[in-house]
Amino acid sequence: MKFLYLKLDPFGADACKIGITSKPDVRLGVYQNSYYHGSHTATFDYLWVGDDKNINNIEKTLKTQMGLSIQKEGRGHSEWISEPADVVLNQISETIKGYRYKVFRATERPVTIYNLDQVIDKCKKMVDNN
């Protein structure tokens, strides 16, 4: 089981980050590391779950589709898409439909370290039932 997440810019820019992980707790911890937890809580603002293949392939497809909005140069730049969330969300939704990716969206949002376990349980059930 692997996850695709979309993370909004915490400072409000029209940009989002797309990434994948099989260890969402570790990834959230890494994102939390740069900020004091009293000032900012690291989030996955949207989360999808699927098997490794489908998640790896959808990430590749999305990054190809949105290539022009992704800065390839610059350390740490390459996961940020310079587009508003609704544009990226629409692209993800169309891509899941058009490519028939077997991935499922978690209904909770945002996902934080505080509700992550509960979300993962639900995700497991979604994958098992499909």
């Binding site: 293949k53 489908n54 392939n57 290539g67 610059g74 490519y99 028939r100 077997k102």
Partner: protein
């Protein structure tokens, strides 16, 4: 702590590409290995692009750090390369850099000869004693064929070593004489042009050129792609078809009446029906095309319901086309390692073909299919 030794110019390629593309209504791919001029051309009247615009696109992709030193050079006045028409008796071959001549290659050129086709052979002009030689270092087979075709004059683009010497250009120390120097120039340039800097024509480019010149098989294959909803592309993008060579192979699979393209079309239709946005996935449409053909040979009828039920099963179980074909191959290999096969398949197209048959029989099984070579 390390100190920055030099100032790095601020340059962000993706931003520069985006800025450049803002000048165009129809966007096109700009990558290191190809700027998609076919799509770029759709922004211009008659589809003809000024070289200056392409030059600007190249500058954007390569960036400021890869620019050569700026200079102005008039090759006609300041260089030593010139064009001229020559008599046959002025032309020579120096076997140090042209090791042989291939009569069968000349005959091959002859079979496809047209007076509009020859490119200009390249040579070196040098005077030794009283004789001025023009050594051909590229295109000497073409020269021979021109002779066979009755040409009375021969075009040559040549380096004028005589003029270099007259202007006081010194022969580098490593060469004992002018001949060695001329041979070095010819040999180095021959390797540069024919090997080192040669960009092989890709299958995609060859296909698109044949399409432009209305080659009948290519046009037919492209018509099938368009009818199904695919577009030939260099890279696998939405709705793109990149597997030109395999496409030609499957397209050429003819039915019992000699009609080509039937199985190719149905294989692609199968994919398009179930994965409408995805680029054509070779190991989905190819094994399906092979299955349609085999069924026809063996007398099985695959109705539309077969396409629907198989596709629905594959998408529901495995997801997108890449994940699907990867999973089918994994199923095959799992069986190979667990139980082994008497005659294992030696190519992915047949591994997926066998697995599709096995998966259908086991999970759907509404109609009969041919036997898979590897059964599980």
């Amino acid at each position: 702590m390390k100190k920055n030794k030099g100032k790095v110019e601020a340059y962000n390629r993706q931003q520069e590409i985006k800025k450049f593309q803002d000048n165009f209504e129809i966007k096109f791919d700009m990558k290191d290995d190809a700027i998609d001029t076919r799509t770029m051309a759709e922004n211009y009247e008659h589809g003809i692009i000024p070289l200056e615009d392409i030059s600007q696109a190249i500058e954007v992709v390569l960036g400021p750090n890869k620019r050569p030193k700026v200079r102005t050079f008039d090759p006609e006045l300041d260089g030593y390369l010139h064009f001229d028409w020559h008599e046959w008796t002025e032309l020579y071959l120096w076997p140090k850099f042209q090791r042989d001549v291939a009569p069968n290659h000349i005959f091959k050129i002859e079979g496809d000869w047209d007076d509009t086709c020859p490119i200009v052979p390249c040579g070196i002009k040098v005077t030794i004693g009283d004789v001025t030689y023009v050594f051909i270092w590229d295109g000497h087979h073409t020269c021979q064929e021109m002779k066979r075709q009755g040409y009375t004059k021969f075009p040559v683009w040549f380096l004028d070593v005589d003029a270099m010497l007259e202007d006081g250009v010194e022969i580098p120390d490593e060469f004992d004489n002018i001949v060695e120097f001329a041979v070095n120039k010819a040999g180095t340039n021959m390797v540069r042009i024919n090997s080192k800097n040669k960009r092989k024509l890709s299958a995609y480019d060859e296909f698109m050129i044949l399409l432009e010149v209305k080659d009948s098989a290519t046009v037919a294959m492209n018509n099938i792609l368009s009818a199904v909803g695919y577009v030939p592309k260099r890279h696998p993008v939405e709705g793109g078809f990149t597997q030109i060579k395999s496409g030609i192979d499957i397209f050429n699979n003819a039915d019992e009446y000699g009609t080509k393209g039937k199985y190719f079309k149905r294989g692609l239709q199968f994919q398009k029906r179930h994965w409408p946005m995805a680029p054509a996935e070779l190991e989905i449409w190819r094994p399906m095309a092979l299955l349609y053909k085999q069924c026809e040979i063996e007398g099985f009828t695959l109705d539309e319901q077969f396409d629907i039920e198989l596709g629905e099963y594959l998408t529901k179980t495995y997801g997108d086309p890449s994940s699907t074909q990867e999973s089918l191959k994994e199923l095959y290999y799992a069986e190979l390692h667990n139980k082994g096969f008497k005659e294992p398949r030696d190519h992915d197209q047949w591994r997926v073909y066998d697995t599709i048959i096995n998966v259908y029989k086991k999970n759907i099984g509404r109609i009969d299919l041919p036997q898979a070579q590897c059964r599980f």
